[in-house]
């Protein structure tokens, strides 16, 4: 015999309601929370595009097959991936579905009086009874009022309740999490983030072309950049003489907040950025820029200026490329720079200290096609020498020059460069307020005890009892104080 189970037919609304109830249930929220923790893990183990794009491209080179699969599942962009977003969006919907109804309920409860004194107090916790001496109800009322209990009075009894702050705190905590997320969203939509490398002596004008990299939020526009300028006056780095570890970075700048404003001299440090309204400017990285002049055979200057070099180690051995596209033929200097020169038998020129004690520029000169005109983006630190040939190899100290077959190279001087990160995040104050409210709400909800105390006088007998609505201890002590007060000692 085959019994066919007939599922009750669910209308569309009933179905939606069913899923809504499932989604907003505590168990689902718990599963989503654990899933969120689990989903965050791969992003800390696999290199991420947002944090370290170089490591991602290295990973593609070393583990090509695996990397392709990682890419398919957005494992290089975990925190903006569809599956990670799905989890936290569901979690927040579940949270809203849970918190909103509870907020209305609580708003209602917060204005209401406690429920009536139960008929049989003897069945409640901490029940005590003794014979009345007359005015206990009055004493009880004063005591409970002084302790800020809410009191429902009746002819022969008081019903008092305290600790609504627990639920208030709990709700505020959860609502503040939504506020944090809103702050993150506003930052993502209206924020601007970019960076620029500037050598000492250069000036930064805040428009999109001045940046080396810049990314706008979905809604922010170039016109929203505040029109400030920053001139790099001086950068000072101090290093530990034993370990070469950096001890202090100080950047001196002259800023003009908007055209026509008075210039201001300011100091930037790693932990104290410049502020222009909601835009802040951070000191992120630094290195050295050799100042090089290249002249052709007739003595015309074909290139001059500071060129930022990329540091390779803690002693700031740096690599860089000096490209001279205006010469005929085109020239390229594949270079490295060491602030304190030393020779190592297996590595060649190395630096033994990050400060400029014995600076040296080492380079090879190449002649041919730099490949700048074919539209393929190039690294500013490297030269593609596949269509070039090497014509000279040398090293210079500041002030020295080299004559070679196509002209002269002069190593004039060396100045530091700094990488400024320029960030506008109009959402961060919402997140900050959210964070502060979250902690206050959490404290209120974890350390407030919700409890009820009753007293009744019936036939010359005093009856008292209490109820702790959450298992936190402390009611017994409070009750004994209460009873002692009533008994007049």
């Amino acid at each position: 015999m085959i019994e066919e189970t007939q599922l009750p037919e669910l209308g569309a609304i009933a179905l939606v309601r069913y899923f809504w109830r499932q989604l907003t249930s505590m168990r689902t929220a718990l599963v989503l929370l654990l899933l969120l923790a689990l989903a965050a893990i791969p992003g800390s183990l696999i290199p991420q595009n947002a944090q370290n794009p170089m490591a991602v491209s290295d990973y593609f080179k070393s583990h090509r097959a695996l990397a392709i699969w990682f890419e398919r599942f957005s494992l290089f962009d975990v925190y903006s991936s569809p599956w990670f977003s799905a989890i936290y969006i569901l979690l927040f919907i579940s949270l809203i579905g849970c918190v909103l109804p509870r907020s209305f309920e609580h708003l209602h409860a917060a204005r209401a009086l406690p429920p009536k004194t139960p008929k049989n107090l003897a069945r409640m916790e901490l029940f005590q009874t003794w014979s009345s001496s007359g005015n206990e109800l009055e004493i009880a009322k004063t005591w409970l009022k002084a302790k800020r209990f809410r009191i429902l009075e009746s002819e022969d009894s008081l019903s008092a309740e305290k600790g609504y702050l627990r639920e208030t705190g709990n709700l505020f905590f959860h609502i503040s999490l939504i506020l944090i997320l809103v702050g993150v969203l506003i930052g993502g939509l209206f924020g601007v983030r970019g960076s620029a490398i500037l050598s000492q002596g250069e000036r930064f004008v805040n428009n999109a072309t001045s940046y080396d990299t810049i990314s706008f939020g979905q809604i922010s526009r170039e016109s929203s950049l505040p029109p400030f300028t920053i001139k790099i006056d001086k950068f000072v780095a101090k290093y530990n003489t034993l370990t070469s570890a950096p001890e202090d970075y100080t950047l001196y700048v002259t800023t003009v907040a908007k055209p026509g404003a008075t210039p201001k001299q300011q100091v930037v440090k790693v932990n104290s950025p410049l502020t222009f309204g909601s835009t802040r400017v951070y000191l992120q990285a630094n290195g050295y820029s050799p100042i090089v002049t290249v002249q052709d055979k007739k003595g015309n200057v074909t290139f001059q200026g500071p060129v930022p070099f990329l540091p390779q180690d803690g002693n700031l051995r740096s690599i860089g490329a000096i490209k001279v596209p205006d010469g005929n033929p085109q020239l390229g200097l594949v270079s490295s720079f060491v602030p304190t020169y030393a020779r190592s038998s297996n590595q060649g020129a190395i630096s033994v200290f990050p400060e400029l004690l014995d600076p040296k520029l080492l380079f090879s000169i190449w002649q041919g096609d730099l490949g700048l005109d074919n539209g393929v983006p190039q690294s500013v630190y490297r030269i593609d020498t596949s269509k070039m040939k090497q014509i000279a190899l040398s090293s210079l100290k500041p002030g020295e020059f080299l004559k070679f077959s196509e002209g002269t190279v002069t190593f004039e001087d060396v100045v530091p460069w700094v990488n400024l990160q320029i960030v506008s995040d109009p959402g961060k104050s919402y997140s900050l307020i959210g964070g502060i409210v979250a902690i206050l709400g959490l404290l209120a909800s974890l350390f407030t005890r919700r409890r009820r105390i009753w007293i009744r006088v019936s036939a010359g007998e005093i009856q008292v009892a209490g109820l702790a609505k959450n298992g936190a201890p402390g009611l017994a002590i409070e009750m004994s104080e209460f009873v002692a007060k009533l008994k007049g000692n």
Binding site: G43, A55, N240
Partner: protein, 305 residues
Amino acid sequence: MSAQDWAYLSNYAIYSAMALFTLAFFGHAYETAWAVRTPLASAETEGNLVAKTFDNSRTQKAMRIATAMMILGFAFLFFGVIARGISAGRVPWGNMYEFSITGALAFTGAYLFALRKYDLRWLGVLVSFSVLLTLGTAITLLYRASAPLVPALKSTWLVIHVSAAIISGGVFLLANVIAAAYLYLDNMESKGPRKVWAQRLPSLEVLDQLSYRLVAFVFPLWTFAVIAGAIWAESAWGRYWGWDPKETWAFITWVAYAAYLHARVTVGWRGRRAAWLCLLAGSTFLFNYVYVNVWGTGKHTYSGL
């Protein structure tokens, strides 16, 4: 005194603290082992299983000495951490060696603080052993000469963020040890009555409550540590949250403990399941400390390794 003198003094204090914790360990081991009494063999007991009894009246003295050693060790360790700070002219939280000695201090502190209210001396063996292990690893593998801070750490937030994180860590680990004890005893009880030496340990219910209270007590502080870190990151790195490995794992720990609190308070988990969840959350904290500091990449690379 010169910075060098303070650094030496700090090292001597740490070595002395290790000696004291070793004494505390032996004291606790003695009082646990010798409290189990086997009656002398007699005609009555012959042929029967010998019924062991638990009686720590004779080992009270060892227990008190062990606790005294623990307090003294705490004092020496405290001095060692302070002296380290003086020698470097800053708060002593600049590299992993310093995080470890301060972490051991916070852990011992959490134990001694809880001792005022609960008789946790049965935990003494485990506490002294794990403190010894932490200090031993710190001084042999993680030790770095006392040096000034790198520029990124020069901020008031170092004091606020790191102290909050270290204290939270100490309490989380204590909660973890208690949850582990719960699981061990629960397993033992499911096979029969408790072994004699374990009879002095509190009931399962008490352990269950205790680990929950510790977590509930310190969860707001951990939340604060994460938020303080975000505020600091905003002023140092230009963003308050960037999914740096350390940040990611701090977030995972936070979410895991949030799940634990919800499971207990709202869904009503107790006992084994809650203890496992507590252990899981605590191990994410440990993983963050060990993995991200030693092997991890990202911006929180201050271990000095």
